[in-house]
C-alpha cells in the first residue's frame, strides 16, 4: 500500500526533474533540476530496500558531483551569448525521435513481461551498510581495489588536463 503511494509520486519527481534539465536553457537551472531528479531517484532506491545506495546517491551524486558541476559552471563564467538558442535542425528532430523510439520499444517489452511482484520477505539486513560492506570487501574485493586506482588515475588526469602549464 505505502510502496505504491510513494513510488508513483517519486517516479514523477524523477522524470519531471530530468525533463526540466533538458528544457532549461541556463546550465545552472539544468543542474538544479537534475539535483531534484536525483532526490526522486534516491527515494525510489529506498523503496527498493537499498538504503546504503540511496544515501550514497544523495552524498555523492546530489552532493559532490552536482557541486562540482555548479562550481565549473561558475568558473567558466558564461554570458548570454554562450547559451544555446533553441532551434529545430534535422539532427535535433532525429535525436528526439530516436530517444522517444527507445522509450516506446522498451515500454512495449516491459508491458509484455509477466506481472512479477516483488518478494515481500527479504534476508536480514538486506541493503544495509554491514551486509553490503561484507559483500564489497569479500567477493568484490578486486573490483573495489581497482576502483581506488581508477579514482587516483582520474584525479591525476583531471589535474593534468585542467592545468594551463605543467
Amino acid at each position: 500500500m505505502t510502496e505504491a503511494m510513494l513510488f508513483y509520486p517519486m517516479a514523477l519527481v524523477a522524470i519531471g526533474g530530468a525533463l526540466g534539465m533538458i528544457a532549461s536553457r541556463n546550465p545552472v537551472h539544468g543542474a538544479m533540476y537534475l539535483v531534484l531528479s536525483f532526490f526522486g531517484i534516491a527515494s525510489v532506491y529506498v523503496l527498493l530496500a537499498a538504503e546504503l545506495i540511496a544515501a550514497l546517491q544523495i552524498i555523492v551524486y546530489a552532493g559532490a558531483i552536482m557541486v562540482l558541476f555548479v562550481f565549473v559552471i561558475m568558473l567558466l563564467n558564461l554570458n548570454e551569448d554562450d547559451l544555446e538558442r533553441p532551434r529545430l535542425t534535422p539532427g535535433t528532430i532525429f535525436g528526439g525521435a530516436a530517444a522517444l523510439a527507445f522509450w516506446m520499444i522498451s515500454f512495449m517489452v516491459f508491458s509484455d513481461l509477466p506481472d512479477q511482484t516483488m518478494p515481500t520477505e527479504l534476508p536480514e539486513g538486506f541493503g544495509q551498510v554491514a551486509s553490503v560492506g561484507r559483500l564489497i570487501f569479500g567477493p568484490f574485493i578486486v573490483p573495489f581495489e581497482s576502483t581506488s586506482i581508477l579514482l587516483l588515475v582520474a584525479m591525476v588526469g583531471a589535474i593534468v588536463v585542467a592545468k594551463p602549464r605543467i
Binding site: M21, I41, V44, L56, T92, G95, A99, S106, L113, L122
Partner: protein
C-alpha cells in the same frame, strides 16, 4: 494499489535513460550533454537495484556502488576537459568541437 511490480521499476529506469539519451542528442551545450550521461548512469543503477530486490541477492547493489564510483571519476575528468575546452577554444558548443587535432 499495493506493491509495485518489477516492470514498473524497469519502466522508470528506461524512461530516465530515454530522457538522458534525448539530452545527449538534442542539446548542444557540452555541460547539459554531460548531465544527460549522468542521468543515463542513474537509469542503469535503477535497473541493477530493481533486479537485485526481485532476486533477493545483493550483487546488484555492489554493482550500483561501482557505477557511482566510476561516475565520480568520469565527472572529474569530463569537467576538466570542459575547462580546457573553454580555455583553448572559448566555446562549449559540441558542434564547434569536431576536429581531433587543433
Amino acid at each position: 494499489m499495493g506493491s509495485v511490480p518489477l516492470a514498473h521499476y524497469l519502466a522508470l529506469g528506461s524512461a530516465l535513460f530515454a530522457v538522458g539519451f534525448a539530452a545527449l542528442l538534442v542539446r548542444r551545450n557540452a555541460l547539459v550533454v554531460f548531465m544527460g550521461v549522468e542521468l543515463m548512469l542513474n537509469a542503469a543503477n535503477m535497473t541493477f537495484l530493481a533486479f537485485s530486490r526481485a532476486h533477493q541477492t545483493m550483487s546488484g547493489q555492489a554493482a550500483a556502488f561501482f557505477v557511482i564510483a566510476v561516475a565520480a571519476a568520469e565527472a572529474a575528468v569530463g569537467l576538466a576537459i570542459m575547462i580546457a575546452l573553454v580555455r583553448n577554444r572559448n566555446t562549449l558548443n559540441v558542434d564547434e568541437v569536431d576536429t581531433l587535432k587543433y
